[in-house]
Amino acid sequence: MSATAARSALGHLPDHRTGCVAWRWLRGLKILLPFVALVAAWWAIYLSADFSPQVLVSPLAVWRAFVHLATYGVMAEYASTSLRMIGLAAVLSLLVGVPIGFAVGVNRYAAHALEGFLRFLQGISGIAWLPLAIIWFGFTHTTTLIIVIYTLIVPIIFNTMVGVRAVPETYTLALRSLGASRLRLVKDVYLPGALPSIVVGLRLGMGYGWRALIAAEMLVRKGGLGDLIFGARTFGQIDRIITGMIAIGCLYVVVDRLIVQPIENLTVARWGVLRQ
């Protein structure tokens, strides 16, 4: 009873309808309509009072700024810089963080020892280390990359540890008693077992990391969307600031909902038996 109540409360469409084209268009409309309403409300507010262009601009001005930035190459370059940075940081964080998480997670004592330290590091957000990184590496892309990797890697290590710890000992004991090598154990038991948790850690990390990236770009000012909106502030170009903000939001939603979340869903569906 509670399961169906929960699902209906969360507004899921029944499954047999998801394939039908009409329903897909309707769902697309359902997503767009609130934004149309928002823009309408914005326009109404803008028209109602006499706002100085330093405070608020009309949606039309924002659209024109977007067209300008997009046509003349600015948006593509700044957006690409940010995307490449988060992508590179994600890959590097996984390459370094997952092995560390594995190495620590298999041992109960090591995991317990590292947990508190990781939480402490997470409390000192990556951004707080930015001044030190600037002293060490200057106002460069390296600085930004290091800060974003720092922000991404902590949840990945943490969740890898949790994932590895969640693998029941019976599975590993069973395979070992049948003569499996260490490598085989990792490949066939630990990795699939921990994978859902790792992907959840990646998703969390991307959320923190994208935010840290924008903040870092605002300070380092070497390209990227954070640089775009902060730079536009210097010239009081509110239309560009809002365009940048919308771009930041849209790109994150695309990466999170169209790439990372589906990967998470697929991983959980395939290997998520151990999740409690």
Partner: protein, 121 residues
């Protein structure tokens, strides 16, 4: 404990591209569009940009980069990467560049927001 768990995700059908895989494809395509779309468009339309006199150049040339809008500092900086910036040619949207190597000439022609590249007398 087992039956009352709310909303265990249904296994997505993995035979045809299921809804999840379709989302990933769409997402990746959008990202690729953002990353490379303008570059590809620029390269596709490169032929129309280079003035006839400059095609098949074998040595460094002096050119005027013509834009059909008033450039920001961003655009000036990008253009200046391909040669020695030598000021404007009358209007703000005509930029003089000296000593542009043939390789850089080709790269300039690939830039989507450059309107024309004319020879500098």
């Amino acid at each position: 404990m087992s039956d009352n768990q709310p909303a265990r995700r249904r296994l997505p059908r993995l035979s045809l591209p299921g809804p999840e895989v379709r989302k990933i494809i769409a997402g990746v395509m959008l990202i690729v569009l953002v990353l490379f779309g303008q570059q590809l468009y620029g390269r596709a339309t490169a032929a129309g940009r280079l003035d006839a006199a400059l095609r098949g150049a074998t040595g460094p040339r002096n050119v005027i980069v013509v834009l059909d809008f008033t450039p920001d500092r961003f655009h000036n900086e990008r253009v200046a990467e391909y040669g020695v910036f030598a000021g404007r040619d009358g209007a703000l949207n005509r930029l003089r560049l000296r000593n542009v190597t043939p390789a850089n000439l080709a790269r300039l022609a690939d830039v989507a927001w450059v309107a024309r590249i004319e020879p500098l007398q």
